[in-house]
């Protein structure tokens, strides 16, 4: 969920608080075999292990892998498959797409013709208005899902509206929100977007309760944390849905969960979402496509198939820190959705790693040199 600007500035130290030791996960050759013996010139000049690490990162790295679009393999490569595929393309673009666009338009008409009166005329009767708005938002989301022929299978007990609980899910695209919203009207925390999405955010989503954040502002985190806490304590607020990864990941990996959702003093209900790439890859690669293009791509594919699991609610265990709690829930979701865990902060998409990591490597090198100097 981001605009296409890569604001590459050094990351603030606040981002450091979110993750445990990356070095625990990364294969760092230098720490595996500690060199021994008296220090000689060759040891000092031999930077081969360090260069190997750098070259290894150039050739393949686990962070970039998380954001790689993996489109389904083309199957149109021979004499009879190709015309079949062409026929499929024609059908999808000239028949399915217009039909879906019509369905979506009808949905919007129904929605707006109910929502606008309800919103303005029932200003006095808040409880009834909220209830109706909730139902209407669920309705328009169902229309959206129908417009991509969404085949969504929900597993597990439906979320209930109780105070002091938040829902967390892995994030692949903004349609995650729509898919979950059609079942239950969640309140959501989102990056404020420009364009028509922003317009929708400020009008309709406002009614189910939304919290905005701004990724590029450092102080923003405290304000957002406060808003989250206030919302989760309220009894008749819609349950809060949070995507702790903070960015869209390609549904094969999961990046570090930010601890904000886990230190609200609430029960955390994990939700795992797994898309089946059989017809289309639902990963929204925000560096490659705008959200509009992404939606159009979905609307011209055969179907969007996915599974949603509502998993067992978790509480902070005694003696557990928020980061450990976040990691534990990430584990639960990743196992269920078949995602591989990587130790990276999703925000590294937009900013550089903190100098702390480089310093840690420098420190271990320095210590090794000084130690060996003592040896005779």
């Amino acid at each position: 969920m981001s605009s296409n600007q890569g604001k590459l500035k050094p990351s603030s130290s606040e981002l450091d608080l979110d993750r445990p030791n990356i070095e625990d996960y990364l294969p760092s050759g230098a720490s595996i075999q500690e060199p021994h013996g008296k220090l000689r010139l060759s040891d000092l000049l031999d930077i081969s292990p360090i260069l190997t690490e750098a070259a290894g990162a150039i050739v393949d790295d686990s962070f970039t892998r998380c954001f790689k679009s993996n489109s389904p393999e083309p199957w149109n490569w021979n004499v009879y498959l190709f015309p079949l595929w062409c026929f499929g393309v024609v059908f999808r673009y000239l028949i399915l797409f217009p039909a879906r666009a019509i369905v979506l338009t009808i949905g919007w008409i129904i929605f707006l013709s109910c929502f606008i009166p309800v919103h303005f005329l029932l200003k006095g009767n808040d409880a009834l208005r909220k209830k109706l708005e909730r139902v209407l938002v669920e309705l328009i989301c169902s229309f959206f899902v129908a417009s991509w022929t969404g085949v969504v299978k929900y597993h597990g007990p439906r979320p209930s509206m109780r105070p002091k609980q938040v829902f967390v899910a892995n994030h692949t695209s903004m349609i995650d929100f729509i898919i979950l919203e059609q079942m239950t009207a969640f309140a959501v925390i989102m990056q404020k977007h420009p364009g028509w999405v922003g317009l929708l955010q400020s009008t309709i989503l406002e009614s189910v309760g939304c919290i905005w954040f701004n990724r590029s502002e450092a102080k923003d985190r405290e304000i957002v944390a406060k808003k989250l806490r206030e919302h989760s304590q309220g009894a008749d607020n819609n349950p809060l849905l949070i995507f702790p990864e903070g960015t869209c990941v390609n549904n094969q990996y999961s990046v570090m969960f930010k601890k904000g959702a886990f230190e609200l003093g609430c029960t955390v209900c994990p939700v795992a979402i797994k898309y089946n790439k059989i017809f289309v890859d639902a990963f929204w690669n925000s560096r490659k496509q705008s959200f509009t293009m992404h939606l159009l791509q979905l609307m011209t594919s055969w179907a969007v198939v996915c599974d949603v699991w509502y998993l067992e609610p978790q509480n902070l265990r005694p003696g557990e820190t928020a980061i450990e709690f976040a990691e534990r829930v990430r584990d639960i979701i990743s196992v269920r959705a078949g995602l591989r865990k990587v130790p990276w902060d999703g925000y590294l998409k937009y900013s550089r790693p903190s100098p702390k990591h480089r310093e840690r490597k420098q420190q271990s090198f320095a210590e090794s040199v000084l130690r060996r100097l003592e040896e005779k």
């Binding site: 010139l41 060759s42 000092l44 000049l45 070259a55 050739v59 790295d61 970039t64």
Partner: protein, 175 residues
């Protein structure tokens, strides 16, 4: 080499293979091309410094700035040629040559005391004082038969580092 298409022809692959002295197999070159296209976001034909730094593992590397000078703006052929020093089939001499180039930042074929100090500074940061670094280096140079004013050439490097156990290999993932 087609910049606009991400398809390599057999001719392209062979040209690249020739350029890197056949140190990579054709499959590895195809994988490297995929990686190159992944890093080169707007298909310019080269990877900019910014795009290299968007790989967090590379960005937090102490020698990233030095390496950037060597890889910034390389087209695919030269990118593969650079990485070929890390192939398992590359000779020890080739690897030492790359290490030498990292030290010899001004490219004059000689590595001075200061050149080595600067690399050491990148590697150890503020965790060793400048004085201590100088001391250690002077002592080690003396023990190896050089002085503080010596200029080390590639041959010196080969003499010092040229043990057959020098390992500097990266595996190119091939699907």
């Amino acid at each position: 080499m087609g910049n606009s298409s991400s398809m390599l022809t057999q001719y392209d692959i062979e040209e690249v293979q020739q350029h890197c002295q056949r140190l990579f197999s054709q499959q590895e070159i195809v994988s490297l091309y995929e990686r190159f296209c992944q890093l080169d976001r707007n298909a310019k034909g080269f990877i900019s410094a910014d795009e290299f730094l968007s790989v967090p593992e590379f960005a937090m590397h102490p020698l990233s700035q030095r390496l950037l000078k060597m890889v910034d703006g390389l087209n695919f052929k030269d990118f593969v040629a650079f990485l070929s020093a890390f192939s398992a089939k590359a000779s020890v001499q080739m690897k030492i040559k790359l290490i030498f180039k990292v030290y010899d930042s001004d490219g004059n074929g000689k590595v001075s005391f200061n050149d080595i100090l600067e690399v050491l500074r990148d590697l150890s940061g503020s965790f060793i004082s400048d004085n201590q670094r100088e001391q250690v280096l002077t002592q080690l140079l003396k023990e190896a038969g050089y002085s503080k004013d010596s200029y080390l050439t590639l041959d010196d490097f080969i003499k010092v580092l040229g043990s057959p156990g020098l390992k500097m290999e990266v595996e190119v993932p091939v699907d």
